[in-house]
Amino acid sequence: MSDLAHALPGPSPQIILKQVVKNFGATRVIDHLDLSIPAGQKVALIGPSGSGKSTVLRLIKGLEAYQHGSIEVAGAPVPAKSGGWHWPGAKKPPVVHRVGMVFQQFNLFPHLTVQENVTEAPLQVLRLSREEALERAHQYLGLVGLSHKADAYPAQLSGGQQQRVAIARALAMRPQVMLFDEVTSALDPELVGEVLAVIRAIAHEQQMTMLLVTHEMKFAQDIADRVLFMEAGRIVADGSPTEVLVDPDNERTRRFLNLVEQR
């Protein structure tokens, strides 16, 4: 199949994990995981810490190597030996540019202004012209409501603002898939709302596939088409938000939700 054909959204699932196993040393963090996600679906991953939620996202983005199974994004394989650097000129894995990711700790580039944070990858990786890159920065900083902070440095922003810049930075690459890894967990409670509002807006306006690891159950219920409950590297519940969150028929899910609500 040609590369172009991969890029076109088809009826086949966009993300496919088959029997994926990931070990950190002697610890098995992902245990023969099967998962397929159609294009455009908004999926929330929930579960106790250490259950492997974040690792699933990192595997899909190719940030981690895995030991067994296969991962495919938009028809292109994510190699099992992911996690290293790719060298300029070397054949890049075909999945690149299609998956954007936002992290718990924002990971903005501290030496670049907000605007430069957003334009850097479009300029250096996609090789866009300055005008095009600036136009994208303008568009996505507007979307996250931070156009007025374009010339500030990350250290001058609140955590919530930094996370919104990180979201704009990822969106500026126009990914087909967006991964959100506990993006509100490092924020002060009063800053969580502004970040969730941005993600909610993206979920409603954009066609892209979204995977979110989150502890915000209400939020998951609001925006997700599908909720996965993970435990010990496996998916133990998979269904609509109502099925998994409101009326779980799974004992472990029920126990976890009770614990979360007691916080």
Binding site: L63, P88, V96, P110, A121, V125, Y153, A155, A170
Partner: protein, 226 residues
């Protein structure tokens, strides 16, 4: 009279000799520093590379050069290598000997500065699909420079002063010129005092330049325009 013709002539002679010597000193400092910067980065990147063989070679390089006296290394390059048929010009010997010695320390400075860049930056770089070289040039290095500049600046001044060792392998640097003047004119106190001031006058602007450059590359930490 205090400034008769012969005194002026002597003063001119001293000035000319010391200026020539200072020029040699600066020349060696400059080229040795080029060796230091290049080798520091090469060795630091080798030590941080995922390949065990490269890491091992780099570690041996650092440990050996750190453990050798710079002067003995210079003697070795100058007097012993010719016995094996390798003869280097005194200038080359001085530049290589000092450059290699200082690069062992320099590579440790570069390595620790590079490892100081937050781990999350690596995730961000890969999440945005940067290739390794672009990421190093645009993201990692600008963040590491502020950590390496102050110790690198110290080292540069130290290097300038250590170049006096090359006077022992027949190079007519500042120290050598001073020694020669004393042989011909006497006047120990006067000559060594002038030489001392000369070193200071060369070292001080170096520290100042490094500080200026440091301010330039750290403007983002203070959140102001460069």
């Amino acid at each position: 009279m205090l400034f008769d013709a012969s005194t002026l002539d002597t003063a001119r002679f001293i000035a000319r000799q010391l200026a020539n010597g200072a020029l040699v000193t600066l020349e060696i400092t400059f080229f040795a520093q080029v060796v230091v910067v290049v080798m520091s980065f090469v060795i630091a990147l080798m030590r941080l590379s995922p390949w065990r063989a490269l890491r091992w070679i780099a570690t041996v390089y650092v440990e050996i050069l750190r453990g050798i006296s710079a002067l003995v290394l210079l003697f070795y390059l100058f007097f012993i290598l010719p016995l094996f048929g390798i003869t280097l010009a005194p200038m080359t010997t001085g530049i290589l000997g000092l450059g290699l010695t200082f690069s062992a320390y320099g590579s440790e400075i570069v390595r620790s500065a590079l490892s100081n860049v937050a781990r999350g930056q690596r995730d961000a770089i890969k999440a945005l699909d940067f290739d390794a070289i672009t990421a190093f040039r645009r993201i990692i290095l600008p963040q590491a420079l502020p950590f390496m500049l102050p110790p690198m600046g110290n080292q540069l001044v130290e290097l300038l002063k250590t170049t006096s060792l090359v006077s022992l392998i027949t190079l007519s640097d500042l120290t050598f010129s001073g020694g020669q003047l004393i042989t011909t004119l006497g006047q120990q106190t006067l000559i060594w005092s002038i030489v001392l001031v000369c070193y200071f006058v060369m070292a001080w602007p170096l520290s100042w330049l490094v500080k200026r450059y440091e301010r330039r590359v750290t403007h983002w930490r203070r959140g102001v325009a460069p």
